[in-house]
């Protein structure tokens, strides 16, 4: 617990002015524009949109500038901003089968309908620093080969191919009625999969990455294959009561990962491939892969398995995935705890005095015993 303190206004004001100055950095260097962040630090923007749980590229870019590049702080700013806006409603579920694909790969099928499309990827780069980027230079445009162009709808889901043979579990379509919403009601454990996916979608990428990795290293292994990863644009549609039809709001880029997991079956389920799912705003490949691993791990209990590892533990994962919440609680330790601490200080002093008195008494007893023994 912390208590209110008074004073320090002048120091706080000066600290914030100092912060603004340090944010700007050397005036000899041109100021960065949030448009430059939106265009050239796109993956940072995508991460802030996901962890801020708000799709708005310009806003996320501005938050990154304001936060001096601290992406958790930027997500915090975005979360705070969203609380100032009214909620119009919920979109129709986006249809990733109709995605305008910019990247689509499968680690399970070499020749899949629609092909393997690398798109703009870091994969197969040598991870050598490109010193050429130190100087501004003309970047050549992409090659547009005479290859078969990628057309919407030409890339069926890998999971559909397996589903045709009945080898992978089919997602129950479910009624499009009540959908759990963490922005409206707090997290309750056990949580249904809709709420779990919402929390994972806005969860910290690093935390999810570590948890996903832990399953691969044997802490609740799920034998995963990256069935499919696709990135591209989808239309967002919103039902407007006055119009009586779904209005197109515009397109957003999303990343999707279908993890396919070997599953030898249980008392409840016949041997089949099971699925873990990851979905996120923007180009967030690592995030959706980690999310899909953790989604599958969190399904352990419903698939009749025993919860033995951290990634399978709903409370452990879901209660700690949100970095805005986590940073709030960790960083609140910086706030004045003077009264608390004074109380603890008095307590520890009293306990030490007691401890010392007891030790003295015990020592006296030992000496007494010794004399008694010697006298006998």
């Amino acid at each position: 617990m912390y208590v209110s303190v008074k004073g320090g206004e002048a120091a706080i004001r000066r600290a914030h002015r100092l912060l603004a100055d340090r944010r700007r950095g050397s005036r000899d260097v041109a100021e960065i524009g949030s448009d430059q962040i939106a265009e050239q630090l796109t993956l940072a923007v995508d991460r802030v949109m996901n962890e801020g749980s708000l799709h708005d590229r310009a806003l996320a870019a501005l938050a990154i500038k304001q936060a001096r590049g601290d992406l958790v702080e930027a997500a915090f700013l975005v979360r705070a901003y969203r609380t100032t806006l009214p909620r119009f409603g919920a979109s129709r579920p986006i249809d990733t089968a109709e995605m305008v694909v910019e990247r689509r790969i499968s680690a399970t099928y070499k020749d899949l309908p629609g092909g393997q499309i690398l798109g703009p990827t870091f994969d197969y780069t040598h991870r050598l620093i490109d010193f050429g980027l130190e100087e501004a230079s003309e970047t050549p445009g992409p090659e547009a080969a005479d290859a078969l162009p990628v057309t919407p709808g030409s890339t069926p889901r890998v999971t559909e191919l397996l589903a045709r043979e009945g080898l992978v579990e089919v997602e129950p379509r479910g009624e499009d009625g009540e959908v759990g919403d963490l922005t409206r009601s707090p997290l309750r454990i056990p949580a249904k999969r809709d709420v779990r996916l919402q929390q994972l979608a806005r969860g910290d990428e690093g935390f999810l990455l570590a948890l996903g990795y832990s399953t691969q290293r044997g802490f609740g292994s799920t034998h995963p294959f990256a069935g499919e990863i696709r990135i591209g644009r989808v239309e967002v549609e919103f039902d407007v009561a006055e119009l009586g039809f779904a209005v197109p709001l515009g397109e957003i880029t999303v990343s999707e990962c279908q993890m396919i997991n070997q599953f030898s079956g249980s008392a409840k389920v016949a041997p089949t491939f099971t699925r873990g799912y990851g979905l996120a705003f923007g180009q967030a490949e690592r995030k959706v892969m980690a999310m899909a691993l953790v989604d599958r791990a969190l399904r352990t209990e419903e698939l009749g398995g025993e919860v033995i590892a951290p990634a399978q533990d709903q409370e452990f994962v879901l209660a700690h995935a949100d970095n805005v919440q986590a940073t709030g609680f960790v960083e609140h330790l910086k706030l004045p705890h003077y009264v608390d601490f004074q109380a603890e200080l008095a307590l520890v002093r009293a306990m030490r005095a007691e401890h010392a008195a007891r030790a003295e008494a015990d020592a006296a007893d030992v000496v007494e015993d010794h004399f008694e023994e010697a006298a006998e």
């Binding site: 749980s53 310009a58 969203r82 409603g89 499009d176 919402q198 119009l243 996120a280």
Partner: protein, 156 residues
């Protein structure tokens, strides 16, 4: 060009109106602003442009039950033409002028009087740009299509 008579266009259903809205949603602010030159004097705001949130939903596994992915900023506006026709604009983002222009476009299109001019001055340029961009993207993306060869191990 002479003023085309008001055409109720019985053939134009919600799908056509939706198609125009899809174009509006993909248009830049500048492209949409072209609609102002076609708007009659006395367009009133039924709903002044307002920014809010729409929760974007996905489906588990892409095709299963819905879940909440995260919110998106959306700006909406509604206008009424002097003729009484109303129009709506709902666009991702926080650009109020863009949402109002989209509402004017919708109203003018529904009213029907200026459809030809809308087509020439507003819709065609947007469509041309989008077609060019999607062809370019499809070709650039298609150029990164790969064939992985599985290396055969052992005897052959």
């Amino acid at each position: 060009m002479t003023e085309t008579p008001p055409s109720p266009s019985p053939d134009a259903g919600p799908d056509d109106r939706r198609a125009v809205m899809t174009l509006a949603a993909a248009a830049t602010g500048e492209e949409l602003a072209a609609v102002r030159a076609l708007a009659p004097a006395g367009v009133t705001d039924l709903r002044a442009p307002e920014t809010g949130l729409v929760m974007v939903r996905g489906r588990m596994g892409g095709d299963g039950a819905p879940f909440n992915l995260g919110e998106a900023t959306v700006t909406r506006a509604a206008v009424r033409l002097p003729s009484g026709t109303t129009g709506f604009g709902h666009l991702l983002g926080r650009d109020r002028a863009r949402a109002r222009d989209a509402a004017i476009l919708d109203a003018l299109w529904v009213e029907g009087r200026a459809r030809d001019r809308l087509e020439i001055d507003v819709l065609s340029p947007i469509r041309r740009r989008l077609d060019a961009e999607s062809a370019k993207l499809a070709a650039e993306t298609g150029a990164t299509r790969v064939d992985f060869f599985t290396l055969v191990r052992g005897d052959d």
